[in-house]
Symmetry: C2
Subunit: 409 residues, 2 copies
Amino acid sequence: MVAIDERRLLRRLDELAQRGALPGGGLYRALYTPAWVSATELVSGWMKEAGLLVRRDAVGNVWGRVEGSRGGRAIVTGSHIDTVRGGGALDGALGVVAAVEAVASLVSQLGRPLRILEAVAICEEEGSRFNTNFWGARAIADRIEPDEASRARDADGVTLADAMRGVGLDPANVAQAIRRDIDTFVELHVEQGPILEEEGPRLGVVRTIVGTAHLEVVVRGQPDHAGATAMDRRRDALLGASAMMLAIADVAREMGPPAVATVGTIAVEPAQVNVVPGLARFTVDARHSDNAQRTLLVADITRVCKVAGRERDLSVDVRTLRDRPAVQLNERAADVARRACLACGVAPRDMTSGAGHDAQVLSAAAHAAMIFVPSIGGRSHCPEEATAAEDVILGTRALAAALRDLAYS
Amino acid sequence: MVAIDERRLLRRLDELAQRGALPGGGLYRALYTPAWVSATELVSGWMKEAGLLVRRDAVGNVWGRVEGSRGGRAIVTGSHIDTVRGGGALDGALGVVAAVEAVASLVSQLGRPLRILEAVAICEEEGSRFNTNFWGARAIADRIEPDEASRARDADGVTLADAMRGVGLDPANVAQAIRRDIDTFVELHVEQGPILEEEGPRLGVVRTIVGTAHLEVVVRGQPDHAGATAMDRRRDALLGASAMMLAIADVAREMGPPAVATVGTIAVEPAQVNVVPGLARFTVDARHSDNAQRTLLVADITRVCKVAGRERDLSVDVRTLRDRPAVQLNERAADVARRACLACGVAPRDMTSGAGHDAQVLSAAAHAAMIFVPSIGGRSHCPEEATAAEDVILGTRALAAALRDLAYS
C-alpha cells in the first residue's frame, strides 16, 4: 500500500473550496474568472511543493509532471477545477486534489517512476460559463472546433477568446494543448448519485458514461394584456411550456431508469407581471446509457412538445444544442482500477455514470478509467455535495494504488 | 360638435411612437429613461403650441393648462406616457395625444373656458421599470408611500429616487405633486380587449375597473445533478411550478369570466442546463371585477399551489405583492361621457375594464370617467396593439365633446 497524507488531503480540499465560495453558500469557479485563476495557482503551488515540473498549457490546464526512467507514454490522473454555479466542494475538485496527493505520495515514497507520471487540473468541464463543456479535455484530445473560442460567449457577451486573453492565454495557440502521448488517464470522482451510499460498496469502477443530449425548446404564442384578455382567448407560451415540462418528465419516467430528462433553465418574454407570455424558451438535458434509447428519448421529448404546442395553438421549435453518445471506458484500464480497489480491501461495483466526465473525452485519446466514491445523500451540483472523509481517503488510496500499478511496474 | 385636426392627431400618435421604439418592434418608454424624457418633451412642445401654460410637476407629470373665467376646480384629461416593455403605440399614448388635441381644439374654437381646463401626460402607470404602478396618478392623489422612492429599485438596482435625480427631479418634493382641486378627470383609452371590435358599438364608457392582486410564489425543492439523480428521487422546483401554473389557469377558467389569472414572469435557480432546479419563483396577476370573487380567486390560487407543493414534497411560499380592489367610476361623470358619445352618433356600451387605469387612482381625488375605443383583435401590451384611425378620431371627438360639456357650460 502507498501511504498518503490524509490530513493534507482533507485540508487541501477545504482550501480549494474557499476559491469561488459564494456568500450564500455553495461555490462558483467559472472558467477564466479570478476564482478560477486563484484555484489553479493554489494547485500549481501544491504540485511545485511535490517537486513536480509544473506548466500551464495553451487553454489553462495545469500539469505537474515527473519523468519516468523508461520514458514512453504518460500515465495521467486528474479532473476538472471548474464548478457549476452554486456547486459543491468535490465535483472535479476531489479528482484534482487526490491526483496531486497520490502522485506526491508515490514520488516521495517510491522515487522516480518507470513511466512518466502526471497530475492535471483540467480547466473546464461543466460548461457553466460558456456552454463549452469539456473545453479542457477536448483541447487535450484535439476536439476543439475551429473558431470555437471566438464564437462562444458568456451571459455578459464576453467571448471565450477574450476571456482567455484576460488570463494571459492566446486563443491562437489552442492546438498546442493537444497531447498524443497519454497512455492511461485515471480519474477519481464523487458518484453524484445514491447507489454506493445506499447499496455499497464504498468504491465503484465506471464501465459506461451515459450519452447526453441538450435541446433548446422555443414556444411561441401571443403576448397579451393580462387583465383585458379572457382566459379562452390566450395563446400563453408559458402555460404551453408548463404542459411540455410535465410531459417531458413523464416520458423519462415511463422509459424507466437510467433515462433522465431535466429542464434546468427557462425564460419568458416579455417577462412582465401583467403581460401574458408570448414566448417561452427552455433547455432539456436528456440522458441514457444506451445510444438507441437516448435517441428514442429525444424523439419522444420532441414529440410531446409538438403535441402540447398543437393542442394550445403554439408554435414549437426544438433544436439540438449537442448530442454526445454514451462512452464505454477501456476494459484494461478498468481492470487496473479494480485491482487497486481490491488492494484497498474493497471489491468495487461496476457502474454506469449518469454524469459526464473528462474521462469520456480523454477516452478518445488514451485508455481511460474512473473510480467513484460515495456521495452523501446522492447529492451533487449543490452546496450540500459531500463525501465522508474516510471515503475521500479510501478513494485517494485506490487512485494511488492504480497509479503505482501503471507507472511503477 | 367640436372640430379636431384629424391629421395632426394621427401624425402626433406616430411621432410619439418613435420615442422608445425597439429595434425588434414594439416600444419601451420606461419611467425617467431617455425615451421617456424625449416623449415628455415632445408633448410639452405640443401643449406650448396650443398656447397652454405648461409645467412639469414634482414627479414629472406634464400639465398644460388654460385658466377658466369662473376659476374653481379643474377639468382634467389625459393618460400615461410610459409603456410596458415591448408594448404598443396606443396604451396611454392615445389618451395623452387626444387630450392635447381636444383641449387645443376647444381653446382655439371656443376660446377661454368657464372652468380651468388641463391636459396631462402622467409619468408612469405600468410599473414596468420599478414595479410602482400608478406612480404618476398616485402622486397626484396623495397615495405615495413614505420612502417609496428610496425603496423601489429597477432591475439594475437603481433606486427610483436616483432615477428622479437623473432627470432633474428632487424626490424630497414628491408631495408637491398632490392636487386637491380637480373636479373631473376624463381619460380616453384603447379597450385592450375584443368586445367593442367584435360586438360593437365603437365607443364604450367604463363603469368598473377590475381589482388586481399580484402574488409572488416561491417553490423550493432540491438542486441535484441532472445526470446522476433518478427521476423518482428528485424534488424539482420547476416541475412543481409547472403543475402550479397549469392549476392556476384552471382556477380562473373554472371561476369563469371576468376572472383572469396570469403567470407573466418566472425564474429558476441555479438555472443551469445540467442541474435540477432547486428553486422556482413566479408572479401571478389575478383579477376580478367583484371584490369578493377576487379574494376567492386569490385564495384558490394559493390553495392549488400549496396542494401541488405537498404532492411533490416542495415548500411553497405565496406572498401578496399588492392587492387593489375593484373601482366603480363616478356615475355623473359617466353620464357626461355617455352624452358626449351620443353627440358623436354612438350609443356607448357600459364596460368593465380588465386593465388598470390612471382613472381608478384619480377617482379617489376627483370624479373620474373613461371612454374606450376598440382594439384591433383585442390586442394590447404587444407591438401589434392598434386601433382603426376612424376610431381614434371618433374617440377624440367624444373626449372633446365631454370636455366642452364640463368646462364650457
